[in-house]
């Protein structure tokens, strides 16, 4: 139970246990925790939907597609993976040229930029794939406004236009869209294996597994996925995503697909390193002490694909030069 809580999966576990009719088999001491986790999931869902409603209102006058990403997309599209999922912030994608308008509208409606330093803020604007986090001054909820799915510091370049183009409007709320199935999977994989977000690593992998199972029923999905990964330049994260979803969660992947991606396999040293790191980062080994190996693995994974130079040194130098010019 503690592990499920730490990996942000207790609410999901609770709903699954209930839906499978297994509550009678759960020890009495654990039941209140499952109930509490269910309450938490309901609250997260309620708050997320309210936030989307507020977002719609704030952006009413602006002509721009709004593509919900990650959790918000799963919830609003009614995907099974949203059941019992907890949400941190609300992520969405808009075209880069609309960023300024969107930011102004959000600021007019009570969201403010909260970054600890001017450098951080400029770094985010200049080098990342999103605006600095916008926090609502009363609800304290956070919006992440993306214009791409990978940061500028990454040498993989994704054409955000292609993502926006094939996004699908929601049936019951056409003001919002979600990414096409293949893109959704690729975004999930890129978020894990390029940006290296392993704080909720297992949860992210579970999302990926759910999406693959849901979309994978459609036979054309798998070949579309491979084609799309190639078109967007996301073959490597796609490979990692499928590899680890299958390894840790036994995601059913068709034989042909596995054969096709065998050629995408990186050379063995990075592969072995990645196996070692991912396994350690996904799950903590201890619940009563700091798992230092996991901390190290998470740190390395969050840096791994992006060179130190591009990520930290270039932005810092540029900032210093810019500031000295201003003076």
């Amino acid at each position: 139970m503690s592990l499920a809580r730490v990996t942000h999966l207790l609410s999901r576990l609770s709903l699954q246990v209930t839906n499978l009719g297994l509550l009678d088999h759960i020890p009495e001491q654990v039941l209140p925790h499952l109930q509490a986790a269910r309450v938490l999931a309901e609250a997260h869902d309620r708050e997320l939907r309210w936030e989307v409603n507020r977002l719609e209102r704030a952006l009413r006058g602006i002509e721009t597609p709004i593509v919900l990403l990650k959790g918000a997309a799963y919830a609003l599209a009614g995907f099974p993976t949203a059941e019992g999922r907890l949400y941190g912030d609300l992520d969405f994608l808009v075209p880069k040229e609309k960023l300024r308008l969107v930011e102004e509208a959000l600021k007019e409606h009570g969201w403010v930029v909260r970054e600890e330093s001017e450098f951080r803020e400029q770094y985010t604007r200049r080098w990342l794939h999103e605006l600095p986090a916008l926090v609502h001054n009363q609800r304290h909820t956070q919006l992440d406004v993306h214009h791409n799915i990978l940061p500028h510091t990454d040498h993989l370049r994704v054409d955000a236009g292609k993502l926006l183009e094939s996004a699908l409007p929601l049936r019951d709320n056409p003001r919002f869209s979600v990414l096409a199935p293949t893109d959704m999977v690729l975004h999930g994989a890129a978020h894990m294996f390029r940006s290296g977000d392993f704080v909720s690593g297992l949860r992210n992998l579970v999302d990926l597994d759910d999406l693959l199972q849901q979309f994978g029923r459609e036979e054309s999905f798998w070949s579309d996925l491979l084609g799309r990964a190639t078109a967007l330049g996301l073959r490597l994260p796609c490979y990692w995503g499928l590899r680890y979803a299958e390894r840790f969660l036994e995601t059913p992947i068709p034989h042909d697909t596995k054969k096709a991606i065998r050629g995408w396999k990186p050379f063995w040293p990075p592969r072995f390193a990645m196996d070692w790191l991912v396994e350690r980062a996904l799950l903590p080994r201890h619940i009563d002490r700091t798992d230092r190996t996991r901390d190290l693995a998470m740190l390395l994974l969050s840096r791994y694909p992006l060179s130190l130079f591009r990520r930290t040194i270039v932005p810092k130098l540029e900032w210093l030069i810019m500031r000295s010019e201003l003076k």
Binding site: A36, P284, H286, D288, R289
Partner: protein, 358 residues
């Protein structure tokens, strides 16, 4: 077996190996620490708590020394629940208060099967008195004093309200700040205070061990009966004013840890509780005086008349009339009416210092 039944070596072995499992109210904690300096203090504050065989725990708490170069200059620690840090690193000398705050946090961040409010709860004769107040309001001081005067401690920080409306207890140590520490020591020689920690985010802090009786009876639920919104004002005479149900509900919601999270059920639980209790603002400047008021054999009579009689006072005396003197209502002790708009009048309030029955 209780914590105090363990020899200091056994306690230290269990704490360092992570095999100390203890129970506080509805929750079982496992605790591991590599800080030898807190072991004695833990033994003192948690002496009467039952020790369980290692096995299931609701929360896995850990108080750990941080490693790294920076730490050689100023040693820092961290508090983990399930292996995840719950605070920014803190200086090691403040480890003991962080243990307390950390254990609280395990509860209020997770136990959403209760409505949880930041309040102190004490009980007498099955009826609970809830003290609500922000930091520095004198809530914990008053709670400690009541507990030292025979009330049973349910909780000093978190009021756990079950869906059936009853209050569950934790009976954990009471946190006292700066001057309250001396006030409580002067109030009663029975107060068993742990070591003081300087330089925490709340200044000087010490914790008072809960009385043995409270720990032993922690499983007895209590029925909420009185809610006091406490505020301490130096030199003020003790004074109380009824607060409307609507206002009480809003104030309680403001102090709740998970009111919005529980949605409709949270509202219903809280509304039922406010409906079935008597709610007052309580101002005090002298601890003994406040305890005397709440300590009397019949608190309801002490607090005064029923609401309809209060309205009669208002009509008769006008809103500025501050006091209904004892005896005016056929034996009812005393009652203050609305003081809004009269700054400073509280101090002049001629409430009897010694209410009837004391």
């Amino acid at each position: 077996m209780n914590v105090s039944d363990l020899s200091s070596k056994e306690l230290s072995d269990r704490l360092t190996s992570g095999s100390l499992f203890f129970r506080t109210g509805p929750f079982t904690f496992s605790l591991r620490t590599d800080l030898p300096e807190i072991i004695d203090a833990f033994g003192l504050l948690y002496g009467d708590f039952p020790v369980l065989e290692p096995g299931y725990a609701d929360f896995h708490a850990c108080l750990e020394r941080l490693r790294g170069v920076k730490i050689w200059i100023s040693p820092h620690g961290t508090f983990l629940n399930g292996g995840v840090p719950q605070f920014y690193p803190f200086p090691l000398r403040t480890a003991l208060p962080y243990l307390e705050w950390g254990l609280n946090r395990c509860v209020f961040r997770n136990a959403h099967n209760y409505l949880m409010i930041h309040a102190a709860v004490v009980e007498r004769g099955g009826r609970a008195l809830i003290l609500v107040g922000t930091s520095g309001s004198g809530k914990s001081t008053l709670c400690a004093a009541l507990v030292l005067s025979g009330w049973r401690l349910l909780s000093d920080e978190i009021a756990l309200i079950a869906p059936d409306g009853s209050l569950a207890g934790l009976a954990r140590p009471i946190g006292l700040k700066a001057e309250s520490i001396r006030t409580i020591e002067e109030f009663s020689p029975d107060a068993c205070l742990g070591p003081r920690s300087r330089g925490t985010s709340k200044g000087l802090v010490a914790h008072m061990a809960p009385p043995r009786e409270s720990v032993l009876r922690v499983h007895q639920r209590a029925k909420p009966s009185w809610i006091f919104f406490v505020s301490y004002q130096a030199d003020a005479r003790v004074a109380w004013t009824p607060v409307s149900k609507a206002k009480s509900l809003m104030r309680m919601a403001d102090c709740a840890f998970n009111y919005t999270l529980l949605g409709r059920q949270g509202f219903e639980t809280l509304a039922d509780m406010v409906e079935s209790t008597r709610t007052f603002d309580l101002v005090y400047g002298n601890l003994a005086e406040a305890v005397d008021l709440l300590q009397g054999p019949d608190l309801d009579a002490q607090l005064g008349t029923q609401p309809n009689q209060r309205e009669r006072h208002n009509a008769r005396n006008g809103p500025s009339r501050r006091l209904a003197q004892a005896g005016e209502d056929g034996g009812a002790a005393s009652e203050r009416v609305d003081l809004a708009g009269e700054p400073g009048s509280r101090h002049a309030s001629p409430i009897p210092a010694e209410p009837a029955g004391n």
